[in-house]
């Protein structure tokens, strides 16, 4: 049975797993205590629930529970991790290395720090979205304190060579922070094996609730500390003050546990569906996959359909299929995705892209339906596209002097 509408925007957020909700519910009502209340059973209950969830969260990434700092989400984790290191290690240096395809929460944090005296290197990526390790190593200076490279990209799903990056970082005595928001829960992430010093992720990208995330901060080899960015009661080992979001934390813990137990099966099923979708859509003339297809999250595909504009394309089926586009006709800037542009894609291809994020609840019927809808809409819009007509007539679109506005 085909269930509509189809949700294929799981990189934006995932639906909550009903099992997660069920675990959370008692913590809104009967177990409502403040985990910092040390003198009565309400507080004890809340504290023990948080302790248990902290173990579930830590276990998913191979960390010690003491290394988990609960945050409001990945954006806060990016801010706390990067700003916290910049402040804590100011005596050692002020240089940070990151990449142009990072999430805005990382890029804008770095830009903010530049105003405060940070020296930031933004590495270009190769055409497949991967960073160049030699370039990374060459960028390291005596003042470098942090390398911030995401685990996997939110738009194209490309997985960076995290182990190799951490080896380079260690060799130079530089800390390694990674935004693993899209990766944790989808692929195996292990902070020990991967050599990660700091890592941020969030519950709502892995079938947990919104408003809760975690920052992993390594406690030994080396012992890492971040300067708190929010002052208050000294919660979370004084790195993140604020009353703990107990129901959120409980849900996050359950979501992590489910991902850990079901990852293998989920990945097998979801990647098969992704491959089916991709193979079928690539049968459309002039359709291209953006980013490295080998080092890629199992549930993500980013495809450009030449000479069709992404937002116009979405309009053909967005009542029934939820997707996102690299085109940004709605935004004031009219600039297409900076991630796709960083791959060296022309603006026309960037404007023509769709991002597919499959998930735990995606069905095969939904994928078949999506293929049919998208194929039909692309063909229909190409009949309407002056660029497609010119392309078919063999006119080189680059030879035309466009009226840039």
């Amino acid at each position: 049975m085909l269930k509509l509408p189809v949700y294929l925007d799981n990189n934006a957020t995932t639906p909550m797993d009903p099992r997660v909700l069920e675990t959370m519910l008692p913590y809104f009502t009967e177990h409502f205590g403040n985990a910092a209340s040390r003198n009565h059973p309400f507080g004890w209950e809340a504290e023990s629930a948080v302790d248990y969830a902290r173990e579930q969260v830590a276990q998913l990434i191979g960390a010690d529970p003491k290394e988990i700092i609960f945050t409001s989400g990945a954006t806060e984790g990016d801010n706390l991790g990067i700003k916290g290191i910049f402040e804590m290690y100011a005596a050692k240096g002020n240089h940070i290395i990151t990449a142009t395809t990072e999430h805005k929460a990382v890029l804008d944090t770095c830009k903010h720090l530049e105003k405060l005296g940070a020296d930031v290197t933004y590495l270009q990526v190769k055409a497949d979205g991967l960073i160049d390790l030699a370039e990374l190593e060459a960028a390291i200076k005596p003042t470098t304190i942090l390398i911030s490279i995401m685990y996997a990209n939110n738009e194209i799903g490309v997985i960076q060579p995290v182990k190799e990056i951490s080896t380079i970082a260690k060799r130079h005595g530089v800390l390694f922070f990674t935004d693993a928001t899209q990766a944790v829960g989808k692929i195996t992430v292990n902070v020990i094996e991967d050599g990660i010093d700091l890592l941020t992720f969030t519950a709502h990208k892995m079938y947990g609730p919104k408003g809760i995330g975690a920052l992993y901060v390594r406690r030994k080899n080396p012992r890492v500390k971040v300067t708190a960015q929010m002052d208050g009661g000294g919660h979370e080992r004084s790195m993140r003050s604020g009353t703990l979001n107990v129901p959120g934390i409980v849900g996050f813990g359950k979501a992590c546990e489910l991902c850990r137990l079901e990852m293998e099966e989920d990945t097998k099923r979801i990647s098969a569906l992704r491959d089916k979708l991709e193979t079928a859509l690539l049968k459309v003339e002039e359709a291209y996959v953006n980013g490295n297809r080998e080092h890629r999250l199992p549930h993500v595909a980013n495809i450009s359909f030449k000479h069709v504009e992404g937002e116009g394309l979405l309009m053909g089926f967005n009542k029934n299929i939820a997707l996102s586009s690299g085109s940004a006709c709605t935004s004031a800037s009219l600039e297409p995705s900076y991630v796709l542009k960083a791959l060296g894609l022309g603006d026309d291809l960037a404007h023509s892209s769709l991002r597919f994020g499959l998930g735990r609840f995606t069905t095969e019927e939904q994928i078949d339906y999506t293929v049919e809808q998208i194929t039909n809409t692309v063909l229909k819009l190409r009949e309407m596209s002056p660029l497609w007509e010119m392309y078919k007539e063999g006119i080189d679109l680059n030879s035309i002097e466009w009226a840039h506005h």
Binding site: H307, V308, E309, G310, E311, G312, M315, G316, S327, A328, C329, T330, S331, A332, L334, P336, G346, D347, D348, H351, E383, M384, S385, P386, L387, W388, E389, L397, I400, W402, A403, H404, H405
Partner: protein
Amino acid sequence: MAYSDKVIDHYSNPKNVGTLDKSKKTVGTGLVGAPECGDVMRLQIEVDDATGMITDAKFKTFGCGSAIASSSLATEWLKGKTVDQAVAIDNMDIVEELNLPPVKIHCSVLAEDAIKAAINDYRKKNGLEELAFEEKGVH
């Protein structure tokens, strides 16, 4: 962002999609926008020499739903108008008719630009002086 019913209608059933023979002296072609901006419109008119009446209009558009709707609407409005009347079509008329939100006003400006470019192409082909238009400069 939700689209107005009229935008959806033009997008789903666009009027006058197609190509006129641009080598004909009676056909004026306007090609505006740029692929890197995410919208390109080509609008064509065919003019009856004797009456100055626009007898046919066609478009092809690469762009979002609002850009497609703006050009579809423009071709509908052009047919049956004289060239002089067509010059007077203002982008705000399109905005009003299609109920475009502020972020989509540039689509209507592009349609107006396309109309004027088509008219000027027709004038040029027929030895008439090109009309000078003010830049709207919204985008």
